[in-house]
């Protein structure tokens, strides 16, 4: 059984997922990266929707990196579901989006996002920002009690 802390990437953009996963691997973070391509799947992994995929072991996901605009459930929809469930209410959620629109940003914070990261393009170190953000939440951030690694 994998005991690394889990990072859940939720995005419908394969290019982003490729670069993000590659960057996290290259950054040598000791994490277990789970990838889901839509909101439903993400909620299943978090055990907030029944069936479909094997849910993550309880309390192993320490941060969700959630795309704002996705077909089907939007990032805000997923965030709302995460925040409305007792078990995941305090789970750190980082919104990741191409949008810099003040409206989008403030809506996410209003809905209880912990952070908002704008997708970067960076030919020098592609995806490094995702790895950096993940590193903060995995290594530096003290997670809420329910997620505390013992």
């Amino acid at each position: 059984m994998n005991l690394f802390p889990g990072v859940l990437l939720v995005d419908d953009d394969e290019d982003y997922l490729f670069v993000a996963r590659r960057a996290i691997e290259r950054a040598k973070l000791h994490v277990d990266v789970r990838v889901t391509r839509d909101g439903d799947e993400a909620l299943r992994v978090l055990g907030l929707l029944p069936g479909g995929v094997e849910p993550a072991a309880p309390h192993t996901v320490v941060v969700v990196m959630l795309d704002l605009r996705m077909p089907g459930l939007s990032g805000l929809d997923v965030l709302r579901r995460i925040r409305s469930n007792e078990r995941t209410r305090e789970l750190p959620v980082v919104m990741v989006s191409t949008s810099k629109m003040p409206d989008d940003v403030s809506k996410c914070y209003e809905m209880g996002a912990n952070s908002y990261v704008v997708k970067q393009m960076d030919a020098e170190a592609p995806g490094a920002y995702v790895a950096e953000a993940a590193r903060y939440w995995v290594e530096l951030n003290e997670p809420p009690r329910v997620f505390a690694r013992s």
């Binding site: 953009d13 290019d15 590659r22 191409t98 003040p102 393009m121 960076d122 030919a123 592609p126």
Partner: protein, 580 residues
Amino acid sequence: MAQVPPSAPPDAGLGRTARAEAGVAMPASIPPARTAARDPATAGTSGPIPLSRAVVLLLLAAGYFGAAKLGLMLAIIHASATAVWPPTGIALAGLLILGYGAWPAIAVGAFVANLTTHGTAATCLGIAAGNTLEALAGAWLVNRFANGRLAFYTGMNAFRFTALAGVVSTTVSATLGVLSVTLAGDASWSRFGSIWFTWWLGDMGGAVVVAPAILLWSDGAATSWTRVQWIEAASLFAVLLVTGQLIFGWLAPVGPEPVVLKFLCMPILTWIAYRFDPRTAASGVLVLAAVAVAGTLRGALASASGMLNESLMLVQVFLAVTAVATLVLAAAVYERSRAELAVRVTSNHLREALAELEAFGHAVSHDLRNPIGAVVNYVGVLEEDNRDRLDPESMRVLGRIRACAVAASHLLDELVKFVWAGLPAPDKLMLDMTALAREACAEVVVASEDGGAVRFEVQELPPALGNPQMLGRVLHNLLSNAVKFTRGRELRQVVISGSVDGHETIYSVTDNGMGFDPALGDAVFQPFRRPKGERPFGGAGLGLAIAAKIVRRHGGRVGAESDGGSGARFWFALPNGGER
């Protein structure tokens, strides 16, 4: 005066639903083919006359004849001159609807009606010629200057119709007719004036009372009234008939009434004109005319006062005045409701277009940014993984790919902001512009590579009412513009100042850079405008356009001044609620 009358029907292009929304009764549609295809100037001159047309012409002649006989029954001052002459209206409307080619029907109708009443063939021919020429002249003038048969859909054309076909062309018939009878020795020259005036008055009444009703009823417009509107219209006509009885005694005799009582009819007709369409108004006028003439006749016959012609002339003048006022009002009301409708339709279109533009902006910002970002990232992946294996030329090509993608991405960012700037400003607040300007300076310094080398001076700025993000963007864009154009100066300086000027507060960003060509003027605020020689990737050319758009969205103005060498001043003025 010589404006070309539009050939399209008054409400072409407005849908039935839109019309219903207006809450004003209007003709549903007037088939454009009637005016466009059947050009009055050529109608009836080409090819054999189809049977249906022959029947129509026959009916026109018969109608003219019948109305003429009716009019001649009231000929008092002279057997051929009457103060009541509805045929003029029938002839005028006939030529406007059927084309000038229908004139023989008028000529025949007039000739036969006169011949069977009074006079020799020669005088009747003269009278008929006058009647026909009057109709031709009236129709030509109305076609030329008052939009032809559609004259009663705008106030101005309704006026022109009355003046041209009511006052001007009717002189032809009166002159030719009275000349005919006088030259034939049927009337003395001494009475020429009084006969002429009676004749002319009768014709004018026919033109302004009868012709409008025929024209408006023949234009094919459908009536789409609600039940309530039908009841209202029926009530108004009932009131009109009752009032007509009280004033003119058309049903039963009434005592002699003061002349002023006649004007009691005005409010009723005004109401009809205001609440309904020109057609209903014209119908009201026609009904009143019938009632008035019938009543006058009855009253005069009963009293045997011998003043019948005078009474009829008085009634004619009254009817003419009433008709003009009513028809012009109805036309003006119609015109206004149509204009309102057009504005509503246009603003609906604009709203839809704006919503589409927003959706487009969102789609572009997301769907296009992702692949462009992916290109840049993949170039990075290639470089990282193959740095040792790729030759310098390949690395150079990769570098170019990256630069192009980065430039495209910047352009995209600006486009998205440009769309955003066009959205209505959300929640406006009273803003500390000094703080906002300081923030913008800090942002610009961080965002630009060389912003640190610029000396910013933020003076005390008056507050402004606006959206913080949007006005922050305005300051940001003006400041980064200033940073860009002070490059190359030893001492780079940017001053932000503000002042209250009456109803406006003006904010200025002044720099000591290279300035711009003064001939450009406010064109610097147009999108995608870049000064000559600037690197193509130096910016999308949207920064100032975005700023201008936001300011205008806030109800303000922008401007720029430069001497073309020693700096520039960009300013924007926002309304401050003060007195204009």
